[in-house]
C-alpha cells in the first residue's frame, strides 16, 4: 500500500480573510473567463472541459464513492442527450433548463434500472450490467428513427439552439455560462450528498461490503441511489455535450470509448474525490494540445492524426497504470491540493 500521511487533527482554520479572498478571486476569474479567453478556447477547450468534469463527477459518485464499477457512462449520457432532444422537439413549450432536469430524471431512472443487478452481483461482474446498457442504447437509438426524428444522418440537434428560460445562449459566452452554472450547481449538490448520510452509506458499501449491511447501512437502497444520482448527472452532462459543445450528436459521440474516457478521467484525477473529476478532465482536455505542441516544436510540423491518437492512447494507458501503482488518489493528491480537512476526504481503497 502506498504511504498515506494522515494528519492527526484538522488543519487550523485559515484566517477568514485570506480564504474568502481566495474564493472571491476564483469566482471572479470564472465569471470573467469568457472575456479573457479566445472564442476558440471557450468552444474547444473550456466548455468540453466543464462538461467532462461533470460527467466525471457523475461517474465518480458511482464508482469512486460507492465502489460500483461502471463502463456505461456513455450510455447514460446518451439517454440524457436523446431525452433532451425528444423533449425539446415534442414539448416545445418546456424551457431548456427544465428539459434538462427531466432528461436527467429519465437518465436517472434508466440508471436505476441497470443498477438493480448490483444488489446481487458484486465486483467487476457488475460491468456486465453497464456494458449491457451501453450496447443496448447504442442499438436502440440507431434502430428506431423516432429517437432522432427520422433525419437521414441519425443525428440529434436542438433546432432552436440553446436557451436559458428565453434568453438565447447560442454564443460562446452563452454556452459557457449555461454550462458553468449547471456544473457548479450539480457539483454543489453532489458535495452536500457526499458530506451527509448518503456519502457515508456509499463509502460503507465500497469499503465494507457485507459488513456495511451488518452495521445497518441500507445497502440495497443506497446502491440504487448511487446509480440513479450518477446517471442523472451523466444524463445532463450528455445533453450538454451534445448541444452545448458538439452542436449535433449521434450514438458515436457516446460510444464505449466515451465510457472508457470518463473512467480514465476519474482514475487519473482521483477516485472518490469531488475535485478528481476536474483534474482528470483538465488533463484529458489538455493532453492532446500538449502533445500536438510537442510534436510541432520537437519534430517540426503536425503529426498524423491517427498516429497522434495512438500515441495518446498509449500514454493514457501508461498513466492509468502509473497512477494505480503510485498514486491511487490520482492528481487530486499528487498536486498536493488534497487538504486534510480533518476527515472529510476518503482515500480510495487500493
Amino acid at each position: 500500500m502506498s504511504e498515506i500521511n494522515l494528519p492527526a487533527a484538522a488543519e487550523p482554520v485559515d484566517p477568514v480573510g485570506l480564504k474568502a479572498l481566495g474564493i472571491a478571486a476564483a469566482i471572479a476569474v470564472l465569471l470573467a473567463a469568457p472575456f479573457l479567453a479566445s472564442e476558440y478556447w471557450i468552444n474547444a477547450i473550456i466548455v468540453p472541459f466543464l462538461i467532462l468534469s461533470l460527467a466525471g463527477l457523475g461517474l465518480n459518485l458511482l464508482t469512486g464513492y460507492a465502489g460500483q464499477l461502471s463502463l456505461g457512462a456513455g450510455a447514460f449520457m446518451m439517454v440524457g442527450a436523446y431525452a433532451t432532444f425528444s423533449l425539446q422537439l415534442r414539448v416545445p413549450d418546456l424551457p431548456l433548463p427544465l428539459a434538462l432536469v427531466v432528461a436527467g430524471l429519465i437518465a436517472g431512472a434508466v440508471g436505476l434500472l441497470f443498477g438493480i443487478p448490483s444488489t446481487r452481483i458484486k465486483g467487476f461482474y457488475l460491468i456486465v450490467s453497464t456494458l449491457a446498457a451501453q450496447f443496448f442504447f447504442e442499438w436502440l437509438f440507431l434502430k428506431f428513427p423516432w429517437f432522432y426524428n427520422g433525419n437521414s444522418s441519425a443525428t440529434i440537434a436542438l433546432s432552436r439552439g440553446l436557451s436559458f428560460f428565453g434568453l438565447e445562449a447560442n454564443t460562446p459566452h452563452g454556452r459557457y455560462y449555461l454550462t458553468l452554472g449547471i456544473v457548479a450547481l450539480l457539483t454543489l449538490l453532489s458535495f452536500n450528498l457526499i458530506r451527509g448520510q448518503t456519502g457515508r452509506n456509499w463509502m460503507a458499501i465500497r469499503d465494507m461490503d457485507t459488513a456495511a449491511a451488518v452495521i445497518g447501512v441500507p445497502v440495497f437502497r443506497a446502491k440504487l441511489q448511487a446509480f440513479a444520482v450518477s446517471s442523472f448527472i451523466l444524463g445532463i452532462a450528455g445533453a450538454l455535450w451534445a448541444f452545448a459543445y458538439l452542436g449535433s450528436a449521434s450514438v458515436q459521440s457516446f460510444g464505449l470509448t466515451r465510457s472508457y474516457q470518463i473512467l480514465f478521467i476519474i482514475i487519473i484525477g482521483g477516485l472518490g474525490t469531488i475535485r478528481g473529476a476536474y483534474f482528470g478532465a483538465a488533463f484529458v482536455s489538455l493532453l492532446p494540445l500538449a502533445l500536438d505542441w510537442l510534436f510541432q516544436h520537437v519534430f517540426g510540423g503536425h503529426v498524423d492524426a491517427g498516429l497522434l491518437q495512438n500515441i495518446q492512447k498509449a500514454i493514457f494507458g501508461l498513466l492509468i497504470i502509473w497512477f494505480l501503482i503510485k498514486e491511487p488518489e490520482g492528481l487530486a493528491r499528487l498536486l498536493g491540493l488534497q487538504r486534510a480537512q480533518g476527515a472529510r476526504r476518503r482515500l480510495f481503497p487500493s
Binding site: 494522515l6 447501512v217 441500507p218 480533518g342 476527515a343
Partner: protein
C-alpha cells in the same frame, strides 16, 4: 415485540458447513437477557461463523435461531441490525480516512428519514437530522471518553482506541444484543482491562446483552457471566465461568489430549 421473559437469544441445533467442512455441528445454547456470554475455543472452532449466522451473513444448513421470541433461520443482515443486533468485527471495519465521529454516525444510517433531495439541497429536515445524529454520536463517544478525538482521523489512532470507536459505532443505534468478535485482540494488558471495563459498563448501564468471542481466558473468566466452549464446531462445555475453568474436556481441547491424560 420483545417478550419480557425468556432468554434473549437461543441457538437451537445449528449446523453449518463450507464445501464439506463442518464449521458448526448441532450447536445449542441460550443467552439470558443482560448477560455477558463468552464464546471460547481454539481457532477454527466455528465461533466467528456463529456470529455471522446471527447477523444474517451465513445461512445455517439446519437449526434455527430464536431472538427475543422470534424464530428464524436466516435474517438479512440489515434486518438483523434493525431488530437490534449490533456487531463488532475482528478486523475493525472502520473508515480509516474519516473522523471518529463520522465513523460512529455511520452506525445510525438505518435511522435516517431524510430523502436524497433534502440532503442535496441542505433543507432544514436534513440539517436537523444531521445535527441530531452528531449529538447522539457524541454522547456515545463520551461513554468511551473519546469526545476529544471526535474530529480525529481514525486511522491515526492507536489500535485500542480504534476498537473503542468500533464498539461505539456498534452501540450508537441502541442495539439490544451486542456481538463482539475478539474485541481484545492485539492489545496489551492495560488496553485489555480498559476495553473489558467498557464492555462491563455497557452491559450494566445500557441493559445490553453481550455475546463475545475472546481468547484471553483470564479476562473471560472475570468478565463473563456465562461461558460456552466450542471445539471443532461442537459445544464442549456450557456454564458459569468457574465450572469451565476446571472442566477436563476444555483443558484437553486447548492443550491437547496428552495433557488431559496426564492431568487425569
Amino acid at each position: 415485540m420483545t417478550t419480557s421473559a425468556g432468554p434473549a437469544l437461543e441457538v437451537r441445533n445449528v449446523s453449518l458447513s463450507f464445501k464439506g467442512v463442518k464449521a458448526i455441528s448441532d450447536l445449542s445454547f441460550q443467552v439470558e437477557r443482560r448477560e455477558i456470554c463468552a464464546l471460547i475455543g481454539p481457532n477454527g472452532a466455528g465461533k466467528s461463523s456463529l456470529l455471522n449466522i446471527l447477523n444474517g451473513v451465513y445461512i445455517p444448513d439446519s437449526g434455527e435461531i430464536v431472538f427475543e421470541g422470534e424464530h428464524f433461520r436466516r435474517m438479512q443482515p440489515l434486518e438483523a441490525a434493525r431488530r437490534g443486533i449490533g456487531r463488532g468485527f475482528q478486523n475493525n471495519a472502520l473508515f480509516s480516512g474519516m473522523s471518529v465521529l463520522d465513523n460512529v454516525i455511520a452506525g445510525l444510517s438505518r435511522k435516517s428519514r431524510v430523502t436524497l433531495v433534502e440532503e442535496a439541497f441542505r433543507l432544514p429536515r436534513a440539517l436537523s437530522q444531521e445535527k441530531a445524529f452528531r449529538a447522539r454520536a457524541l454522547d456515545v463517544l463520551k461513554l468511551f471518553d473519546l469526545e476529544k478525538h471526535a474530529e480525529t482521523v481514525v486511522g491515526t489512532l492507536p489500535y485500542g482506541v480504534q476498537k473503542k470507536v468500533e464498539i461505539a459505532r456498534a452501540i450508537v443505534a441502541k442495539p439490544r444484543l451486542l456481538l463482539l468478535d475478539e474485541p481484545l485482540a492485539g492489545m496489551n494488558a492495560a488496553e485489555k482491562q480498559e476495553i473489558a471495563a467498557v464492555i462491563a459498563r455497557l452491559n450494566r448501564e445500557l441493559d445490553l446483552t453481550v455475546v463475545l468471542i475472546e481468547h484471553d481466558i483470564g479476562i473471560v473468566l472475570k468478565l463473563a457471566h456465562h461461558v460456552v466452549v466450542l471445539d471443532y464446531g461442537r459445544k464442549l462445555a456450557d456454564g458459569p465461568p468457574e465450572t469451565i475453568r476446571d472442566n477436563p474436556d476444555v483443558i484437553a481441547a486447548y492443550l491437547g489430549a496428552q495433557h488431559a491424560e496426564a492431568a487425569a
